[in-house]
Amino acid sequence: MKEPNDIILHAVIKVAVVIILTFSINLFFSGHHNPGGGFIGGLGFSAALTLLFLAFDIETVRQNIPVDFKVLTAIGVLIAVFTGVGGIVFGEPFLTQAFDYFDIPVFGKTELATAVLFDVGVALAVIGTSMSIILSIGDDH
């Protein structure tokens, strides 16, 4: 079988994926006070992964990212729910969040919030769900 000549596609996507991943992480972190957050960051992330799956075949990418996306979804939801349970542990209503300002070297005065943990859960759940959907449609079997 003749190999398809897709060297340009590969070269472009290798660069593009890095940019998209960086952008989606930026989106994720800006989510606390500006537009963005776990959902949209997760979607951006899975867009990058989808590009990889499109340019290279499914087996190659799976070898390099050996993650079961269904499990990733479950872990994401669990992280999000347990951040909520954290509120219960401290005697506050479910999903209560806390934040404070810390002086961290390099970054200076930084706001750290438990809502970010919740957002990590959301992002993982979104990545897991969207990738499971895309892969199960893309798979032949």
């Binding site: 729910v81 349970v85 209503p93 479910f94 969040q97």
Partner: protein, 496 residues
């Protein structure tokens, strides 16, 4: 603030997600799902106790005060529903252990079952309209998968109809939410109640309430039940029993919540319409139940009759009628699960659902036969079984409200329902025994325990109706007096 309220939602959710991570360990699945469902049952009992002593319990997620945040409200009605949900879910789960098969089990059956219960529990305790939508979706999406899981031809055919119907009704639900938000500026039930009472229930609001009624009718199989007989006869028995017992009841619960708490100002329009829909549902359901000669269809039409009857109590909008509805809803959840499990067991024994192809099962399965007889009598409301008290109260309520036709139709259709299930009993259990135990295609081994539990429960509920009357009175008191609910949600402060 009471963090217990959120537990019936997050316990099944966490358990289900842990199962997804450990997909291969089916033993863990069974143990975890049993623990999670019993756990939420115990919490429901605790909530009922707190409801009795301290009134309505509320939780404002993330400490955002209503109407801005998400409120969870557990009044006595919700807590009772939570408890019955857990009981029935545990029984169906025990039945599923023996009957569902490894193929389905390894394809996430137990996690999906728990997510379904998550959605059902969430719908019962949510305090605002949008969250009701979300919890409905959690429940419906799980039910889409459960109904098609296994992929037999009939399942796929029926699931397409089921999914399409529900997607359309969910779409209308969102539209109605948008309308109601545009007019009142809030979605919190308590706040909605305040705002609607302030401005008066104008014609526009009444129209929207009827749109919501149509949406919930589609989900509750009130008059718009065309999808039900097919969808409920397709999935395996344990799933069908949970669907029949719980899914329509969630729709009925939503109708009760809205038309007792928010849209109670124009009973001559909305509640009369509800009564007419209920009467039509009962008549059409009864005709279907009498006409069919297939077990699954007869039972599915019996679900429809039950829906119409519960709704008749709401139509009367009196203390008697609502008391009857609460009693009958509890009874109906239990007895529908019971009779679906019984019907499914009969079908698995004989290998057919056609009444004319079976006879004389009672010789080899006396317990199954007599429990079916108990369930049939309970379904028709013969004293001292659990259906009796609900029927009495609902009939009394409709008569007192002046809806004699509604009460009469209710009584007539219960006779027809009795005929339809006794027809199953006579054809299946009486007559010549031509199926020896070796020739049976299934077995009753292991599945009798949940059936016996539910039968016992319907007898106990009938005999001990006095014992739960304190709880039902509290539930009805809250339903009839919206101020109690509003007071509890806003914690004594005035609503903005």
């Amino acid at each position: 603030m009471n963090n217990l309220i959120i537990m019936p939602i997050i316990i099944p959710l966490i358990a289900g997600m842990v199962m997804v991570i450990f997909r291969r360990n089916l033993k863990l699945h069974k143990i975890l799902s049993l623990i999670a469902l019993s756990g939420s049952g115990i919490i429901a009992v605790k909530l009922m106790g707190e409801n009795k002593n301290d009134g309505i319990q509320t939780l404002h997620l993330g400490d955002w005060k209503p109407p801005f945040g998400v409120s969870m409200v557990a009044d006595m009605f919700s807590s009772m529903m939570l408890l019955i949900t857990s009981i029935v879910a545990v029984c169906c789960l025990l039945y599923a252990f023996r009957s569902i098969g490894e193929e389905r089990e390894s394809h996430y059956f137990y996690p999906l079952f728990l997510f379904l219960i998550t959605g059902v529990n969430g719908s019962f305790i949510t305090g605002d309209l949008f969250n009701l939508f979300v919890c409905f979706e959690v429940m419906l999406i799980s039910s889409y998968v459960l109904i098609s899981l296994g992929g037999t031809k009939v399942q796929l055919r029926e699931s397409i109809k089921y999914v399409l119907t529900n997607i359309i009704s969910s779409f209308l639900f969102l539209v109605a939410i948008a309308y109601i938000y545009a007019i009142t500026g809030t979605l919190n039930f308590a706040h909605l109640s305040v705002r609607v009472a302030e401005t008066g229930q104008s014609g526009l609001l009444t129209i929207i309430s009827i749109l919501l009624l149509v949406i919930f009718s589609l989900k509750a199989a009130l008059f718009l039940f065309f999808w039900l007989p097919g969808s409920y006869s397709a999935p395996p028995t344990a799933v069908a029993a949970v669907f029949a017992a719980l899914l329509t009841k969630v729709g009925i619960y939503a109708i009760f919540r809205l038309f007792t708490l928010v849209f109670y100002h124009e009973p001559k329009v909305t509640h009369l319409l509800i009564g007419i829909l209920g009467a039509a549902t009962m008549i059409l359901g009864a005709i279907g139940a009498v006409a069919h000669w297939d077990i699954k269809n007869i039972l599915a039409y019996n679900v429809i009759i039950g829906v119409g009857f519960i709704i008749a109590g709401l139509a009367s909008f009196s203390i008697e009628g609502l008391t009857g509805s609460v009693y009958y809803m509890i009874h109906d959840i239990i007895v529908k699960a019971l009779i679906f499990l019984l019907g499914g067991t009969i079908i698995s024994l004989t290998g057919t659902g056609k009444l004319k192809d079976m006879s004389g099962l009672i010789r080899n399965h006396p317990y199954l036969g007599w429990m079916f007889f108990i369930a049939a009598l309970s379904l028709a409301g013969i004293p001292p079984l659990s259906g009796f008290l609900g029927k009495v109260f609902i009939t009394q309520g409709t008569f007192e409200a002046g809806y004699f036709w509604l009460g009469a139709i209710g009584l007539l259709t219960s006779l027809m329902a009795l005929y339809s299930v006794i027809k199953i009993f006579m054809n299946c259990f009486w007559g010549e025994t031509f199926l020896s135990e070796e020739m049976e295609s299934g077995t009753t081994k292991g599945v009798m325990f949940p059936i016996a539990c539910l039968s016992l429960l319907t007898i106990l509920l009938g005999l001990g109706a006095e014992g739960i009357s304190a709880y039902t009175q509290l539930a009805v008191q809250t339903l009839m007096n919206p101020e109690i609910y509003i007071q509890a949600v806003f914690g004594g402060e005035t609503a903005p």
